[in-house]
């Protein structure tokens, strides 16, 4: 009889599951576990007292508090700004709403540490252009505003983070069924009552969810605090981890402090994500329909022009001005010279692109690292999502749990975990090579890839795959001929979702770079720290051009595909 006895233990399914679990374990779980292990185990014993001692050290405690203060301020500020602008562009008769909406999303593209650098040039207490202008022409004895302060840091973060709330609230307001408000109006409620009693409660889940995202981001945010805080000794958790690791060249006590701080970040992140999940699942009443409605528009009347001018001024001040400053400073012969035609040239740009080894290496490193990380993470992500979304195998639960991890691990934590895992302690030493940065990028961007690919795979109906199996295709052939071609758009999206942000990455690379493995972000940051302001600004300018062009191309290209 020609029966086939199935190797029921180790089929293709088991191999794929095993590979998927291995990737997530090696790339994400091991680094995180090593952080927890190093934080809580001292000399082979669980030691909570030591953890408490480290937290109560003045520096660490201060960093913790700073993270909280900055995150709280940023969250409140961004929520107010984001909600207000979202309401303006969706529910009022503000002129040029479409254009405004596009402009308010621009900060998403811009790296906030480059923005922070621009604001440092504008508002540093002594040399800032605005402060200098007022001191020279209005005879002020001190600066108008000192950017090296909590307020400065919070304001800059708000400028770059408010789109998280803006985009969520815009979506909710646009999808909200207008009959809900109209029926309140018919019942005799005034516009103010409607807004207070109907509109705000309905979009509150979106507002809160956006606010929590900002909080998560700000707690773990490195760039802005690194650029603006260090001058006055303001450290938050990520910058303190960086400073400790960087200065002590990996001494045991600094690693311990780092792991304890990182643990706090991970726990906070997990808590925030849990809270967000709760709010979203409870808050999504059926009122927000999938269809697009034409919402009721408020006539702004006499406020129309003043609000329009306010929006233009906001865009000009927070987006155009810093960008222009970066490009102008990038063109100066020496930092400090006035912006006159004699002082401006393209020399710096030519220098960093064609002559200066540090910046040329950095561009090369960022592009190759970004491409490799994007390709690897894209394929790993599609495989892992495939197991989670499509396969019925035992042991899938482990993978689902591991798949949640990348979402709740901030960049600086990944960097620290990767140092612990790949510095030779466990046989492999990647420290000071590009490979360690690559591993960290893969861990950092895995969440993006999982999200995009899961969404794409959910669109592929099971029967399409079953039809191929019945036609005689093996599992591999089905994957190759049916599944991969159908999820290609999702894969492409995940590629760009990784490649573009990786070009401006700072948080992870700054902890892992060696003299020859600087990335664009690291080069901009270190050049700026070393006082090479004009070169740094020129490189930042180039980075902005690459990022914005890339983003526009992708939106054009992928956006069209989505509409087909």
């Amino acid at each position: 009889m020609n029966t086939v006895v199935q190797k029921s233990r180790f089929g293709v399914a088991q191999i794929i599951l095993f590979l998927s679990i291995s990737i997530l374990v090696v790339v994400v779980a091991v680094p995180v576990l090593l952080i927890l292990f190093n934080a809580f185990w001292v000399n082979g014993k669980f030691n909570l007292n030591d953890v408490i001692r480290i937290i109560s050290e003045p520096d660490t405690w201060q960093a913790l508090m700073n993270s909280l203060i900055i995150a709280a301020g940023t969250t409140v500020g961004s929520t107010i700004v984001g909600t207000f602008f979202a309401w303006l562009v969706t529910r009022t008769d503000l002129p040029y709403k479409g254009f405004m909406k596009g402009m308010f999303l621009v900060p998403f593209m811009l790296p906030s540490f480059i923005g922070a650098m621009a604001w440092k040039m504008l508002l540093s207490p002594r040399a800032g252009f605005i402060n200098k202008f007022f001191m020279t022409y209005f005879g002020l004895s001190g600066p108008v505003f000192n950017i090296y302060s909590y307020a400065g840091i919070i304001l800059v973060e708000i400028m770059y983070l408010f789109p998280f709330v803006f985009i969520q609230v815009c979506g909710a307001l646009e999808r909200m069924d207008p009959t809900l408000e109209e029926s309140a109006r018919i019942s005799g409620a005034g516009l103010f009552t409607i807004t207070r009693k109907i509109t705000i409660p309905l979009v509150l889940p979106s507002i809160l969810s956006g606010a929590l995202l900002i909080m998560l981001y700000s707690m773990a945010h490195f760039g802005t605090v690194a650029v603006l805080g260090i001058e006055n000794g303001i450290f938050n958790i990520p910058t303190l981890i960086y400073q400790r690791i960087h200065q002590s060249a990996g001494s045991f006590s600094s690693i311990r402090t780092g792991t304890v701080l990182a643990t706090i970040l991970v726990l906070t992140a997990a808590f925030i994500l849990w809270l967000q999940g709760k709010i979203l699942s409870r808050g999504h009443y059926q009122i927000i329909a999938g269809k697009s409605f034409r919402p009721m528009e408020l006539k702004l009347r006499t406020l129309r022009m003043p609000l329009f001018i306010f929006c233009i001024a906001y865009i000009g001040f927070t987006i155009v001005l810093p960008t222009v400053v970066i490009f102008l400073v990038g063109g100066l012969k020496t930092y400090g010279l006035p912006f006159t035609w004699e002082n401006l040239s393209l020399e710096n740009y030519k220098f960093i692109l064609f002559k200066y080894k540090v910046t040329r290496d950095a561009i090369w490193n960022s592009v190759t690292l970004g491409l490799s990380a994007a390709v690897i993470t894209m394929f790993a992500g599609v495989m892992i999502s495939y197991v989670i979304v499509k396969m019925k195998v035992r042991g899938k639960g482990i993978l689902e749990f591991l798949g949640m991890l990348p979402f709740s691990v901030p960049g600086s934590v990944i960097a620290l975990g990767v140092i612990l895992a790949w510095s030779g302690k466990y046989g492999v030493n990647l420290y000071n090579t590009v490979w360690i940065i690559l591993v960290a990028y893969i861990a950092r961007y895995m969440a993006f890839s999982l999200r995009a690919n899961s969404a794409a795979l959910e669109q592929v109906h099971d029967s399409l795959m079953e039809a191929a199996r019945v036609c005689g295709a093996s599992m591999w052939q089905t994957l190759k001929d049916i599944v991969l071609p159908l999820v290609r758009p999702g894969m492409l999206a995940s590629f760009f979702l990784i490649f573009l942000p990786s070009l401006r990455e700072l948080t992870v690379s700054i902890m892992l770079y060696a003299p020859t493995t600087r990335t664009i972000g690291v080069a901009i940051y270190t050049l700026n720290e070393d006082g090479e302001t004009v070169v740094s600004a020129a490189l930042a300018g180039i980075a902005l051009i690459i990022i914005v062009t890339g983003q526009l191309l992708v939106e054009r290209f992928l956006g069209k595909k989505a509409h087909r």
């Binding site: 009889m1 020609n2 029966t3 086939v4 006895v5 199935q6 029921s8 109906h461 029967s463 399409l464 079953e466 039809a467 191929a468 199996r469 019945v470 036609c471 005689g472 295709a473 093996s474 599992m475 052939q477 001929d481 049916i482 071609p485 159908l486």
Partner: protein, 371 residues
């Protein structure tokens, strides 16, 4: 004739929910066999067990003499090793491939040479009436055309067995009628063995050489030719499932049988058995209404004009029944009744079941005489 599919003692459960227990069924070569049952009865699960998408917990499945599933022996051949063709309810035509590529895929997998692939594909496409549309993408086809592509794809490799999972459900009524004759035609032409799963008894009757009726618990109630199933139902479930059913409760007193609580003896063929309580089942078309003559006397409770048909609800000694007459015939023969008029009902074709067996059906689902 040799059996193509043999299912022996197959059981399948999902957690605590048992879909099939100890199911046995065989289908001879070249037959068009239909599994007919209400939705949720596990007929699709049985199809998926045969296709190899699911593995049975116990029992044995063989196709064409090859054991494909036998958990006791550790045998479970994957779907690609079973030499099948299958058409899915949602067509499952691959959206990124043209009609030609969809149909050619099984042959490409079988590593046929290019010329043969192209000839066979064009031939099969012509067979399902899709010539000239080879270069179209599925998004440029109608539902019916996509279904034809799926059918061509399932047939092109000349599989030993063709599985059809409610392939006509998503088509509109006219197309459904047309397609079911075409499928039958193709099956005859290719001499293929077909296993067809549906909940639509009309399709099943029109298409099958034999069919099996499955109930909600996954049990096969009756297997037979369409005529046998329709004319010789073994129990009220089968009778009820195959069309509009009337059930009259009948009591036996000595050698006489009476409807409801009345005293009119039933003059027709009587059942054998010493049960006291019976049901007499019939289709509305098998009851003839008249003003007088042989039959049971009753009262018309409701007369409804339905265009081509007159539909009457009649009360016979406290038992309600429905009967219908073609309108033009009713007019020609003076059979237009008004509400409350006296009448006589005569029956052609009564099916006798023990009352106990009806109660079991009523517990699940039944459309009774009164509407």
């Amino acid at each position: 004739m040799e059996d193509l599919i043999r299912i022996e003692g197959v059981s399948k459960s999902y957690g605590a929910h048992r879909v099939h227990g100890n199911l046995t069924l065989s289908i001879p070569k070249g037959e068009c066999f239909t599994l007919l049952g209400p939705s949720g009865c596990g007929k699709t699960v049985l199809l998926r067990l045969i296709a190899g998408f699911e593995a049975p917990d116990a029992g044995k499945i063989s196709i064409d003499g090859v054991v494909v599933s036998d958990p006791a022996a550790g045998v479970n051949i994957s779907p690609d090793g079973r030499n099948l063709g299958m058409v899915f309810q949602d067509y499952a035509v691959w959206p990124h491939m043209t009609v030609f590529d969809n149909v050619a895929y099984p042959l490409k997998l079988a590593k046929k040479d290019r010329k043969e692939v192209s000839e066979r594909v064009m031939e099969t496409i012509a067979m399902v009436g899709m010539s000239g549309l080879e270069k179209r993408l599925p998004s440029e086809l109608s539902g019916g055309q996509q279904q034809r592509v799926a059918l061509a794809r399932a047939l092109v490799a000349k599989p030993s067995l063709l599985l059809l999972d409610e392939p006509l459900t998503n088509l509109d009524a006219n197309l459904r009628e047309e397609m079911r004759f075409e499928i039958k035609e193709l099956q005859r032409k290719l001499d293929a063995t077909v296993l067809y799963v549906t909940h639509d008894q009309e399709v099943a009757l029109a298409l099958s050489d034999r069919l099996a009726i499955m109930d909600e618990s996954g049990r096969i109630r009756q297997t037979g030719s369409p005529w046998e199933i329709f004319e010789r139902p073994v129990d009220p479930f089968v009778f009820n499932f195959m069309g509009i059913a009337n059930f009259l409760s009948v009591r036996r007193e000595g050698e006489e049988y009476f409807v409801g609580n009345g005293t009119q003896p039933m003059p027709w063929e009587k059942p054998t058995g010493d049960c006291k309580e019976w049901v007499a089942a019939f289709r509305p078309s098998d009851a003839r209404i008249a003003h007088d003559g042989a039959g049971l006397r009753g009262v018309v409770r409701r007369a409804s004009f339905l265009g081509a048909m007159m539909d009457y609800l009649v009360d016979v000694d406290g038992a309600a029944l429905r009967t219908s007459v073609e309108t033009h015939e009713a007019i020609a023969n003076g059979l237009m009744f008004n509400d409350g008029e006296n009448c006589v009902v005569d029956f052609h074709n009564l099916h006798w079941f023990e009352a106990e067996s009806l109660r079991e059906v009523m517990g699940t689902s039944v459309r009774e005489g009164k509407s």
